[in-house]
Amino acid sequence: MTAATTAIRSLAGNPRYRWLTWFAIALLLLAAPFLIEMTLGRSWVRITDVALLFIMLALGLNIVVGFAGLLDLGYIAFFAVGAYSYALLASPQLGVHWPFLLLLPLGAAVAALFGILLGGPTLRLRGDYLAIVTLGFGEIIRVFLNNLNRPVNITNGPQGITLIDPLQVGGFSLAQSHTVAGLTFSPVHSYYFVFLACAVLSIIISLRLENSRIGRAWVAIRDDELAASAMGINTRNVKLLAFAMGATFGGVAGGLFASFQGFVSPESFHLIDSIMVLCMVVLGGMGNVAGVVLGAVLLTALPEALRYVGPLQQSWFGEVIIDPADLRMLLFGLALVLMMLLRPSGIWPSRRRRVAGPPANDTEVPGVAR
């Protein structure tokens, strides 16, 4: 066993065979939905699909929080904007059915526009304000989604929009099962591959951004905004770019979500969901792409695993004392506090990083250890 692991390790460490590692990972990812279905059942394939969506969301928020150090507490609003743009233009609600390939970039653009509209007035102020304004923004979007059913019915209010077109390109629809080379791809499988492609693309974009000129500018602003602007970085525009870029990821994920679910309602876009995405970023490791992906996968699986806690309590205490959904939120809150106190850079910290921003108190005595 140890001999085998050493062999694998030396093989993986050798640059000549690195492609082998990647090949193995790729193979594993491609086989994953079928493996998961065989071992854990179909419901877990669906959970995997959702996890991939959350990877995209978390990576988008990571650009804003992790790279640029701007705390966005209403990130789910961009997800909502993307989802509703898709839902409105591809459902019987307004009677329009635009093609998917047009709607996805459109949703992304609309979300980015909202990001700029929101960021424009607030980004020139200090970060704390952004946190509150985004918090409010997230709620306001939901208030509108809930109430825009009168006097003209646009969003169908709390009932949400149903019968959204599935992902369809040309005559090829993901809503039906397809059989290719003896393998049957049911919709959850097909969506898995689409989402996987999008998630991998998001990872590549994030990694490339991190080391780009813009990425370095973001990190500079995060670590010391004053110094960054002294180095000639247009801090407002660069921050706005981070905001718009993060929103774009959210918009794309939202469009995919709407086509996957076939149904959207304001209920999916609560503050709690923003907090959950934030937890993924913070727990995984702000600014580290791999850590954020890990955080997204862990935190999508956790609530599903917590479902088993309800019956467990039933058998131990004779009643369900803590609702698993509440338990999840309690754990999230606790995790946020403990992470910041004990391990502020996350489970899988980024190599170059000090959490963010200038020290909390500008009037500190110099020389006091931080």
């Binding site: 705390l71 970060g127 923004f137 509440d326 946020l336 506090v337 921003g357 020290p359 909390a360």
Partner: protein, 307 residues
């Protein structure tokens, strides 16, 4: 005109509650430069504790004024204990940490408080037993209950007392010194840790009273009620100039009136397109407008990014 007077009066009463909560935000922000996200939820805890106390005491047959005093006292004790421990556990270790860290613990604490309350009190709306028979007063065509008058007067008394305390007392002077420059205040013999802890004591106690007022006014308590209340109170603090105690009072009253008038008239102004179900967005609009036009708020001395 009668509607106007009515909405104005309602707005002032509501605004005085906002102002009390805003004081908690503004005092902590002034001294630590931290938005204490958990403050709205401390108010919520105060509200639910006093609600439970009222239910128990009223059932035990205690006379109404004593019930209110005891309930308020219970809420203050619980909230002060919470506020001080939160500062000690979640904020003090991070005082010199980068800015994002205490902000994130504050959100974590806020979630913890909300869902702990959901565990204790459940997720349904809890009705407040009506212990005071409301008497109606009419002033300039506006109907007022004695409860509204009491809330408004009590809030004004607390705010005036606080302003006097900060201006005239020894502790108040230490608070102002710490706000200006904690390091130098420390050198002058001010124990800044005590001052900061005391700020949380004051803020939480006032928040607890505000919580009691909210359940008395609306007659309902809910584990999530601290969220919107906190958001609005924060807006009030920004409107008045965050860090400025008198500004928080002004901002709170103003925001209450704006919200009340706007949600009262929005239906007529837009021909029924938008209704009072949009009332929660006005606070947000005010917040964004203030941040765009005058980030330092109405009474703030600082300008630029410090606001």
């Amino acid at each position: 005109m009668e509607i106007f007077a009515q909405q104005l009066v309602n707005g002032l009463v509501l605004g005085s509650i906002y102002a009390l909560v805003a004081l908690g935000y503004t005092m902590v922000y002034g001294i630590l430069g931290l938005i204490n996200f958990a403050h709205g939820d401390i108010t919520m805890i105060g509200a639910l504790v006093s609600l439970t106390a009222v239910q128990l005491l009223a059932a035990a047959g205690v006379p109404a004024p004593a019930v209110l005093v005891l309930a308020g006292g219970a809420a203050i004790v619980v909230c002060v204990a919470l506020g001080v421990s939160i500062e000690r556990i979640a904020y003090r270790p991070l005082r010199h940490a980068p800015r994002l860290a205490p902000l994130i613990t504050a959100i974590g604490i806020s979630i913890l408080l909300q869902y702990s309350a959901a565990l204790i009190w459940g997720k349904q709306y809890i009705p407040m037993p009506e212990i005071v028979e409301p008497t109606r007063i009419v002033i300039a065509g506006a109907q007022l209950t004695s409860l509204q008058v009491t809330i408004f007067l009590l809030a004004c008394a607390i705010m005036a007392g606080l302003l006097w305390f900060i201006k005239a007392s020894r502790m108040g002077r230490a608070m102002r010194a710490t706000e200006q420059n904690p390091a130098v205040a420390g050198l002058m013999g001010v124990n800044t840790n005590t001052v900061i802890a005391f700020t949380f004591v004051l803020g939480s106690a006032i928040g607890a009273i505000a919580g009691l007022m909210v359940v008395l006014y609306y007659g309902l308590g809910h584990y999530f009620m601290g969220f919107m209340l906190g958001l609005k109170a924060f807006t009030a603090a920004v409107l008045g100039g965050i860090g400025n105690v008198a500004g928080a009072v002004l901002g709170g009253l103003l925001l209450g009136v704006i919200e009340s008038l706007a949600s009262g008239y929005i239906g007529d102004l837009t021909g029924g397109v938008l209704g009072s179900n949009y009332r929660d967005i006005f606070a947000f609009l005010v917040l964004v407008l203030v941040l765009v036009l005058k980030p330092s708020g109405l009474m703030g001395q600082h300008s630029g990014d410090r606001a």
